[in-house]
Symmetry: D2
Subunit: 218 residues, 4 copies
Amino acid sequence: MFVLVNLKTYPCDPVAVAEAAADVAADTDARVAVAPEATDLRRVATVLDGTAAEAFAQHVDPVEPGSNTGHTLAETVADAGATGTLCNHSERRLRLDRIDGAVAAAERVGLETVVCGNTPEQVAAAAALGPDAVAVEPPELIGTGTPVSAADPDIVEDAVAAVDAVDEDVSVFCGAGISTGEDVVAARDLGAEGVLLASGVAKADDPRAALADLVAPL
Amino acid sequence: MFVLVNLKTYPCDPVAVAEAAADVAADTDARVAVAPEATDLRRVATVLDGTAAEAFAQHVDPVEPGSNTGHTLAETVADAGATGTLCNHSERRLRLDRIDGAVAAAERVGLETVVCGNTPEQVAAAAALGPDAVAVEPPELIGTGTPVSAADPDIVEDAVAAVDAVDEDVSVFCGAGISTGEDVVAARDLGAEGVLLASGVAKADDPRAALADLVAPL
Amino acid sequence: MFVLVNLKTYPCDPVAVAEAAADVAADTDARVAVAPEATDLRRVATVLDGTAAEAFAQHVDPVEPGSNTGHTLAETVADAGATGTLCNHSERRLRLDRIDGAVAAAERVGLETVVCGNTPEQVAAAAALGPDAVAVEPPELIGTGTPVSAADPDIVEDAVAAVDAVDEDVSVFCGAGISTGEDVVAARDLGAEGVLLASGVAKADDPRAALADLVAPL
Amino acid sequence: MFVLVNLKTYPCDPVAVAEAAADVAADTDARVAVAPEATDLRRVATVLDGTAAEAFAQHVDPVEPGSNTGHTLAETVADAGATGTLCNHSERRLRLDRIDGAVAAAERVGLETVVCGNTPEQVAAAAALGPDAVAVEPPELIGTGTPVSAADPDIVEDAVAAVDAVDEDVSVFCGAGISTGEDVVAARDLGAEGVLLASGVAKADDPRAALADLVAPL
């Protein structure tokens, strides 16, 4: 099970979350990764270097080294120490051709890719572009604290079925409605191989305890 | 075989092209459709009403009736007499979630959908969203006059295979490199069920002759 | 005073609104214009041809005749009979360089331009691009029915001052919070030379009566 | 005079350029700043801390701390040690309202803002949003090596006049066609208070020598 924590642009301390992630990852079989802002990526990856936890980017652009201003280059993200990247998050939607280009850019430098989508259909579409994983995130659940397993369990099972029909090698993550270890288990029981969450850790009073709770039952 | 003529914003006479399409469609088994600008859609559809040819929109927005300014509403496109719409053309790329929304909007009012993409992977992704057809249009061939069958025949066959693996009910059109009836036959031989072309008709000195030539071997 | 009615993608009858606009315009010194969807523009302009009311587009793209799919070409809008166009409406925001290009495209074919913005600063910026008018539309007032003169009268006066400092020849319209003739007078008293409104007419049970009420005190 | 070096996503060593900038800035009255990718910003700013040179961001998003994935937050940029940011570069164009929001976000945390535009009209528009400076960058000159003073000297003078008419406190930079110290002097003679350049330094065999040459005549 993969627990991927998106720090968004929350006013949290990304280094402290990274340190907590390293500690928690040392004691679990689950993979744990932290995705800070690009500006914080290198120092988060430095903290995580040599630990069991990983750093992810929140986005990479479908560009090559060259004349691109204000873009996030996959090469630089990899050089900073990240092992993967989110793509097409609901707060950073991309054109279909640019998702294709971003996945190709990430692949070029060995970054894992997790492409987001709102619906089983959208993540199945994303799966056709050859990412490592997709994350289904029903927009109505994002940031609500409502468990996806309670609100809309079918969406995860439907996503798994739709993605399997396109490419069995693409993992499906549950990208919304995850706050507790119980939610992670429920997502796993629905067929998800990972969870993508944000506020449950980034806005927690004690991010370390929140992370520990998430992986406890795994 | 479906011959879909995109008039883009070319300075041609859309009514004259529509009249030619009606005449040519009367004498062939191929389906023929003309896609003018939204501003010209109603009069083109009026010319084509009761003929064997059809009117398509070049784009519809993923919106519902309501507070949307400067958008193309599927309901209005259908009311104008169109039978289908292009979507995600290389000159009007959309976010993945908005392609999903545009296909849903078109479906809501019974418009056929032809979703474009640059590569076999992108049209396979589009196919996962449930359109009627996809059109593969390698950008390097658009508007060149180079036949796709000469320049890159694999792209059509690969697109057909990739789309079939996702959803066998989605047709594949060849969306670039079509100028002559010979090109249409070559596309059909590669597995395409339609062709999407523009300048070959819209910029022809004699659009009627150009259209007649396209369907002659079918 | 200019009363510009944006029909958005509301499920109203654009021809009926146009006929009402023609009647109302015949009896007032105010200019009256109706802005339907592109797909309805030609028939609205045809109804208004020879009357005292005018047809506007909701948007034109910063393109020239040529290879542009799913775009609204200024030439076609003018050919359809429109006398002007909205630009950068809050529901159809554009990049700064594209507003510049859209104003240039409209000017190329003699269309009047009304460029929208949220704040006095944004409409002052728009004024630097040389449109005929700008419309200030505080987003928090759009579609609320709350009169701008009650909620935020300073915004109109500030917009007039900011625009005058950039280019005295650019008119300022009040683009939100207009439902009644009283609101139009209040906007005029604050320095606006026009009003841009939508739901007050397009969603009225009796659009003709709503329009008549708007111009009655002028 | 302000010499602002945009490293884009060029495959240069941003730390080496920063060290060169620090050295060169120590020996000139000109301000010197380096704008790396967001992922490299903190280490570039760390190198420049306490030196005469500065770090700039290439872009900040018009967002506040909170639920924004894949965005560049002004607070984080400032925390990383940058003193300013580019905005609306020709390779990262923004909607007018988002330029307004990005300038506001930068101002919120004390970052200087340099907003780019293609034409005198566009930079005058940008000036109305209250940035510290604007940079006029005729797209046809970007990356060509052709000096703006040779190709199109009027554009700088026109930009200065247009911006002065909107807000005299906004500086005008010359954003294209700068490769040598001679070009910088020519830009200054045309009224520019700064230059924005990229390949002349970032792609130079010896970035230190290139920078030294740029400021030598100042």
